[in-house]
Symmetry: C2
DNA sequence: GGAGAATCGTCACCGAAGCGACCATTCTGC
DNA sequence: GCAGAATGGTCGCTTCGGTGACGATTCTCC
């Protein structure tokens, strides 16, 4: 796997973040209750690994999960998803091996839906299947729009948006610039240059593995100002 | 809508061609039979128009359908789909207006599924809902992969692939270079330059609204040679 | 056949960003 | 605390491709 492909997959993660994937309500989860079980995972342990036969999908209940692909030259983080995310379902429905590994980076509680039970559940509860379907198609359409948005945007605009998305409640983004670059499908140098500009503009401060948002408005102007209304 | 957005949507068409979207078998269509009806459309007539309330999805049975978006500065062709394609379903499930217009460019036979009947059908026949769901998720995954493939490829590689895809049984592509450029999300000039290179390499001949494939191997080498295996 | 529109071929210019290179800073494990 | 690894900051070079411009060719419709 060459560098470019690294960027591909990481960029993919950014483009297709699944956080908003499945808008299931509490009642839906209750209905799903009989078909699965909650599992707790300590940080560093895996929910599933790339290449394994896909036997279950997970709905993340608490904690962050890191999705990555293992490569000869190291692991490539493909995404980081939090509560509400559904992972593993694509591979599950395709009947193919998982296309990425899922590792808990915090104490994670997730709802595990075994393949056999899930298929039965969806067959017996078409409404849930419908919801899943609708969510999937929504995701498909959102993906298209997102990609359109990403296509002709400069790196600095993408960086600004990513910072806004990823900043925690203290306005801090705790990622290395290399990770940032991978998430955007760009290079460290280019991202660094974009960060420099943002720093000079007074929008952010940078440190070792930390970016602090100083002036949120500047970032928002960058993000929204140049996005054609869709 | 500016030029850049033109390219966005046309590129979208290429990226997310829905031709292979719903791999429904004959039996599936039979099962669906009771919930819809075949409609015939003369060339130039619409199956639905952008902005209209989405009241039905269509499965194209015969003939080509052109998908486009109307803009103040003219229509923008977003895609051209043939038999097997499903159109209008995203808007339908979203409960939102159609996001594009669908016009028959040939005599078209399509199977029309009304919203109310379709929802009922899927609720009563969860297997069909499941199939639709699986197809949707497959499409989502394929879309991701396709986008990855497109992202870091040069225009000439994209042009080569597009020509291979679009060439008819005579090895001819009957599209203007402007249309080609839009399909790739590029510009006419850049595409023209790529075509020049291909022409000099002896891979194609160009004419007025026609590109003839002379040496298919050259094109295929270009397409496959530089695509990292996914 | 002729006028005007559409399309094609090509050029020069320029900005965005990938890439390699180099050094400074910060962290981590011993 | 210290060595080595990881990360950050910055250059310069180069390629790709978007943009505007101009003229040549082909088509279409009287």
């Amino acid at each position: 796997m060459d560098i470019a492909e690294h960027q591909h997959f990481a960029w993919l993660a950014r483009s297709f973040g699944r956080t908003d994937y499945l808008p299931l309500t509490a009642e839906d989860l209750d209905a799903l209750g009989a078909a699965g079980e909650y599992v707790d995972k300590y940080p560093g342990t895996h929910l599933f690994k790339e290449g394994e036969e896909s036997i279950a999908a997970y709905v993340v209940k608490a904690g962050d999960v890191e999705l990555y692909r293992s490569r000869p030259d190291g692991d490539l983080v493909v995404g980081r998803v939090g509560p509400g995310a559904v992972i593993g379902d694509i591979a599950l429905f395709q009947g193919a091996p998982y296309i990425s590994s899922a590792k808990a980076v915090e104490p994670v509680t997730a709802f595990r839906l075994d393949r056999s039970k899930l298929l039965l559940l969806l067959t017996e509860h078409p409404v849930i299947a419908m919801r899943w379907l609708v969510a999937g198609l929504n995701q498909l359409e959102a993906t298209q729009r997102h990609v359109i948005r990403l296509m002709h945007r400069t790196v600095i605009e993408q960086v600004a948006e990513l910072i806004l998305d990823e900043a925690d409640r203290f306005g801090e983004v705790r990622l290395s610039q290399t990770s940032l670059a991978n998430l955007l499908g760009s290079t460290r140098q280019t991202v660094n240059q974009a960060l420099s500009q943002l720093r000079k503009a007074g929008a952010i401060e940078t440190g070792y593995r930390v970016i602090r948002v100083v002036n949120r408005n500047i970032l928002e102007t960058l993000v929204t100002g140049s996005v054609p209304a869709l």
